[in-house]
């Protein structure tokens, strides 16, 4: 299958790309292309123009800035997955990257492309919400704004970015204090598949073993990342054991009404959501307590 015709632009600066985006009616930004080109080949998408971001060096970096980790939108998964910094500080993100697509996809796909695509079953969105990441959006003329991950994902394949105006240029991961840990779990039939259910958990635990802060976020169960607030409430202040994790999981998934598709029914998604949330909480807690890497 081959894509329909389109105009092609390969700007070398962000400003030029943003200008093109605002000028070209019906244009789309091309990042890694691992989803976009597939949809274009199937002719489910036929943008009039592609603005290729791959030649914009300034969008490809991983750097630290007063405790924050700043990631350029065009940084590929593989570079992130290989980063020791991310493996140590954000194990949930590392696991999500390790289990994202396959090596060829990780060699080409970018974090910005994935987040802007906002597929309800993609690995990264729930992790971003769990980590309290910030998304930096830019528009032509130098305008920039920061969007909290919680607000960034609006609906299936829909983000808070203003269509045809804004581009996601940077992802900012906040520092999590000592005593923090996270975990990502995904259930799928084949390892390479989009998840049937996925969970990202990030928490901070006090020296007394009580949970100071916890964020529990599911993917594939709603049009956008689902914060299991019920679970977070049960965890708050508690010392986590098997039983408590189970109660939190129960509370966190009670109100879920997941979609059904060819891979799994709503019933199955809800059942395994509870299981994955419980397991991810236990793993994240152990990590926060420094008991497991």
């Amino acid at each position: 299958m081959r894509p329909a015709p389109f105009e092609y632009y390969a700007p070398t600066s962000l400003e030029e790309a943003l200008r093109l985006l605002s000028e070209k009616e019906g244009a789309k930004l091309l990042a890694g292309g691992q989803s976009l080109l597939a949809l274009m080949k199937l002719r489910l998408l036929a943008p009039t123009a592609l603005i290729d971001l791959n030649r914009i060096r300034e969008l490809r970096y991983i750097k630290e800035e007063d405790g924050w980790l700043l990631i350029g939108a065009m940084t590929i998964y593989d570079e992130l997955e290989q980063s020791p910094l991310i493996r140590e500080r954000y194990p949930a993100l590392h696991e999500a990257l390790y289990r994202l697509g396959d090596q060829q996809v990780r060699n080409r796909g970018t974090i910005g492309g994935s987040l802007a695509h906002a597929d309800p079953s993609a690995n990264l969105p729930p992790v971003m919400v769990a980590l309290k990441a910030q998304m930096v959006a830019a528009r032509a003329g130098g305008g920039r704004r920061v969007i909290q991950a919680d607000e960034f994902f609006v609906d299936a394949f829909t983000t808070a970015l203003e269509p045809d105006k804004e581009a996601l240029v940077e992802v900012r991961l906040p520092p999590w204090p000592r005593g923090s840990g996270g975990a990502y779990m995904k259930l799928s039939k084949r390892e390479i598949d989009f998840s049937i259910v996925e969970v990202a958990v990030q928490m901070t635990v006090g020296d007394d073993g009580g949970v100071k802060e916890a964020r529990v976020v599911l993917g594939s169960v709603a049009p956008k990342p689902y914060r299991a607030v019920g679970a977070e409430e049960v965890l708050a202040g508690a010392k986590v054991d098997e039983g408590l994790a189970a109660r939190a999981a129960e509370a966190g998934t009670r109100d879920l009404e997941p979609p059904s598709d060819v891979q799994a029914s709503s019933w199955y998604r809800k059942e395994v959501s509870r299981v994955l949330v419980k397991r991810a909480i236990l793993k994240a807690y152990a990590r926060a307590r420094g008991m497991e890497q």
């Binding site: 259930l187 039939k189 084949r190 060819v262 059942e271």
Partner: protein, 817 residues
């Protein structure tokens, strides 16, 4: 039933005296692999011809609809578009495809492009030929079709009910064929059985999904009035009537060529519809036309297996002896009979599996539905037949409190009864099956696992162990089609080969087969080297098939695990005859009595006087050039052509016949663990024993076993087509059709027995399809895990949700479903 009568045995037994056993059995590096690891294979899409054009299809979004209007005007007017055809254009150019079905199904009208009505989602409705693939696809999107959607029939059993929507009005029913056989005194055994065990099973819909999709390049040479078709069909000569009817050209004008084929697994038998369309377009445009199916088209509309729903009942004695079987089955063959309903009778005789079952009653129905047409996917026919028997064996064992391995051991045909004749007249050629089962159980540490299973269960872990026996009945007797359509002029099962020693003493081999990675160049060379006792490296086997140079019959091709028993037998015969001729020439040239000539290490010598010897290449030079030196009256040249014909017969008045030449044997032992909370299954251990007679090349045999296991595991746990009630196929891409990767397919342990077949000159048996044993084994293991909780699987596919529902239901004493 019992040991086969002596006259039958002697009729089938083959002479193998020409073998030297110097080259058979060696793990020689496959000849094909050298070009393929360098990316130098020639697949259809690699054929590049001047002035090439490209074909693409508009396909039906509906599974069943009337075509009210097609507007191709916009597509036609696009620059670069050369031709746009609809069903009406095809109707003008060809007769409908010949139907192999009995009346009234024979009245079905089948064109490669839909005429008036579409009958399955993805059926081609219009075709475009353009200067590039890109333009062709652009144009397809500019074609407008008005459909009137019709109610779809997607359930085979409902398709037979009165008032069901008709897939083919002209047929007047959805029934394609019905057969009912009774072999042995079934009623007697059911009356006198201690118990009758009955169950209903569904064999699900999947496909082979070869990595190379269907492809064709048709090139009409106006000057010679010859149509050359480069294709990846597995048995092109089987479809000569279809091609000739479609193109209205005599066979000698049709040149059909296959080169390297990127896998087939049965899916590439019915791609002749593409061959016809590309050829018609090439004739019209006087330019070569290339078509390469997209993966979505391939998964949605190329070829699925036939689904089967069976009610199986077994008459059993308390001691576990299975006396007789009754099966009532309905096959879902999809929208057109392009290959099926063959599967319902092909190897129907293995309904009784590897067991001494005395009597069998088969009541089979094949029906049309609004789904993709079906064909013979790897494991064809014996897989669903054996699935039914192996599943019921497990159920019987559970009812009697026997171990599944024990009940199989009790009923297996014994070595003293070989060759064994089944109730339906099948002749199992050789093997020590109980010994094979013993060895497999030992290699898999079966009894150890049974113990661990108990211990782990106490720790809350759910382990299942499956043990299954099966056969890859191989080298089909096509006369079996007479069992549902006595009028069909298609019987036996033959193959041809040409072995020529060229004037330089090298050997050229041409086969009738169209291999897709089974190493025919390698194994044929090994047989020739073995018979002539010359170097493997001096033998050159032509890649693929070419109807202008290959030796073929209408059975020619690569399907039904037929190359080892039939193809290699033809190679053996041709080589043996060549050896005789060389001996005759040598006798004269060496002045040595013919009986004393020995052909060895590339030379002929006189046994009495070793001094008198001559290299074969010198004899070859004389045979072609220096012919006055030849014995007076002897025909020059060293060509040897052979067509191997097994002594097959037509089914007798009771429809009894031997329907395959060899019956390889396999035992699979699988251990699975189920995640109690998610239902996710994981294979912990996989062991397979294979006895496929004499092993020609262990590398190739093991590779085939690995592949068959991978397909079985995939079908049992990952690959299943989902149609909704409107006949929409919900998973037509690799996004949702879950072809497993290296992370899903487990490592596997393969062990061998090697019992030569008396019915083939090489002693080799057909193998590679594996008879679906892996599907049976995995499902058996999963059910074994669920059984203590009262869970049973009714299907050949078990996904985590199904398993979890059973676990939950069992836990709650009722199913969630």
């Amino acid at each position: 039933m019992s040991k086969a009568p002596p006259e039958i045995i002697s009729l089938y037994t083959q002479d193998s005296s020409a073998l030297t056993l110097k080259w058979l059995g060696k793990p020689l590096k496959p000849k094909e692999d050298y070009r393929l690891v360098r990316g130098r294979g020639t697949f259809v899409d690699d054929v590049q011809l001047p002035r090439m054009t490209y074909m693409a299809f508009l396909r039906s979004p509906y599974s069943h609809a009337r075509i009210k209007r097609i507007d191709v005007s916009r597509a036609k007017s696009m620059p670069g578009v050369l031709l746009v055809w609809t069903g009406d254009d095809i109707k003008k150019r060809m007769r409908p495809l010949p139907q192999a079905t009995p009346p009234p199904a024979r009245n079905a009208i089948d064109y490669p492009l839909a005429v008036d009505k579409v009958r399955f989602q993805g059926e081609p409705v219009a075709m475009v030929v353009a200067e590039s693939r890109y333009i062709a696809e652009d144009a397809v999107n500019q074609i407008d079709v008005d459909y009137e959607p019709l109610p779809a029939v997607v359930d085979a059993e409902r398709a037979l009910e009165p008032g069901a929507p008709l897939v083919h009005e002209e047929v007047g029913t959805n029934l394609i064929a019905h057969v009912h056989y009774k072999w042995g005194d079934v009623d007697y055994y059911f009356q006198h059985a201690d118990l009758v065990v009955e169950a209903k099973f569904h064999y699900h819909r999947f496909t082979g999904a070869p990595l190379e999709t269907n492809a064709v390049v048709a090139d009409y040479d106006e000057r010679a009035d010859v149509m050359t078709i480069y294709c990846n069909n597995q048995a092109p000569m089987e479809w000569l009537p279809q091609l000739s009817a479609g193109l209205n050209m005599p066979y000698p004008k049709l040149r059909v060529v296959t080169r390297d084929i990127g896998g087939g697994f049965g899916t590439k038998l019915i791609n002749y519809v593409y061959m016809i369309l590309a050829a018609l377009a090439s004739k019209e445009l006087k330019r070569p036309v290339k078509y390469m199916e997209t993966r979505t088209e391939n998964l949605q509309a190329a070829a699925h297996n036939a689904e089967r729903t069976c009610t199986v009942s077994a008459a059993v004695r308390k001691d576990g002896t299975v006396l007789a079987l009754r099966m009532r089955c309905v096959d879902d063959d999809g929208a057109y009979s392009r290959h099926e309903p063959a599967g319902m009778t092909v190897w129907a005789q293995v309904s009784t599996g590897m067991y001494k079952i005395r009597a069998l009653e088969n009541d089979y129905y094949a029906v049309f539905t609004n789904k993709c047409p079906s064909t013979s996917i790897r494991g064809f026919s014996r897989a669903p037949h054996l699935f039914m028997i192996e599943r019921i064996m497990d159920r019987i064992a559970r009812k009697l409190g026997m171990d599944p391995a024990e009940i199989r051991m009790k009923n297996l045909v014994g070595p003293e009864e070989m060759p064994y004749m089944t109730p339906s007249g099948g002749i199992y050629d050789s093997g020590n099956w109980p010994e094979g089962l013993r060895r497999a159980l030992e290699a898999a540490d079966y009894w150890g696992w049974r113990k661990r299973q108990e211990e782990l269960r106490r720790q809350g872990r759910i382990i299942g162990v499956g043990v299954v026996v099966g056969s890859d009945s191989a080298g089909p007797n096509m006369a079996q089609v007479k069992m549902y359509n006595p009028g069909l002029p298609y019987t036996g099962g033959t193959e041809g080969a040409l072995v020529q020693m060229t004037p330089d003493g090298k050997v050229r081999v041409i086969l009738g087969s169209s291999p897709q990675g089974m190493g025919h160049e390698t194994t044929a060379a090994q047989v020739v080297a073995d018979v002539l006792d010359i170097s493997y490296d001096d033998i050159y086997v032509q890649t693929g098939f070419d109807s202008f140079s290959s030796v073929y019959t209408m059975h020619s091709g690569t399907y039904g695990s037929r190359f080892a028993p039939i193809g290699l037998s033809a190679v053996y015969l041709a080589a043996a005859r060549l050896k005789e001729k060389l001996a005759k020439m040598a006798a004269y040239l060496l002045k040595c009595p013919e009986g004393d000539v020995v052909i060895e290490n590339g030379a002929a010598r006189c046994a009495k006087d070793p001094q008198r010897s001559m290299e074969l290449r010198r004899i070859a030079r004389i045979a072609y050039g220096n012919v006055n030196e030849l014995p007076p009256g002897m025909e020059p040249g060293l060509y040897s052509l052979a067509i191997f014909r097994p002594p097959f017969q037509n089914p007798d008045e009771n429809r009894r016949a031997n329907l395959a030449l060899t019956y390889s044997y396999n035992v699979h032992v699988v251990v699975v663990e189920i995640d109690p909370e998610t239902g996710m299954p994981k294979i912990l251990s996989y062991t397979a024993l294979e006895d496929s007679g004499r092993i020609v090349n262990p590398l190739i045999v093991d590779g085939q076993v690995h592949g068959a296991i991978a397909h079985g595991v995939a079908e049992a746990l990952y690959e299943k087509y989902h149609y909704d009630e409107d006949g929409n196929l919900l998973n037509p891409t690799f996004v949702d059709y879950l072809a497993p990767t290296a992370l899903e397919i487990p490592d596997m342990k393969v062990i061998h027995m090697e019992t030569p077949s008396p019915f083939t000159p090489t002693g080799a048996k057909g193998m590679g399809e594996g008879g679906g044993t892996a599907v049976q084994a995995v499902i058996s293991a999963v059910e074994d895990a669920l059984a203590p909780l009262g869970g049973e699987l009714g299907e050949s596919h078990a996904d985590p949700e199904t398993i979890l529902r059973i676990l939950k239901g069992a836990a709650r004493g009722k199913s969630e479903v």
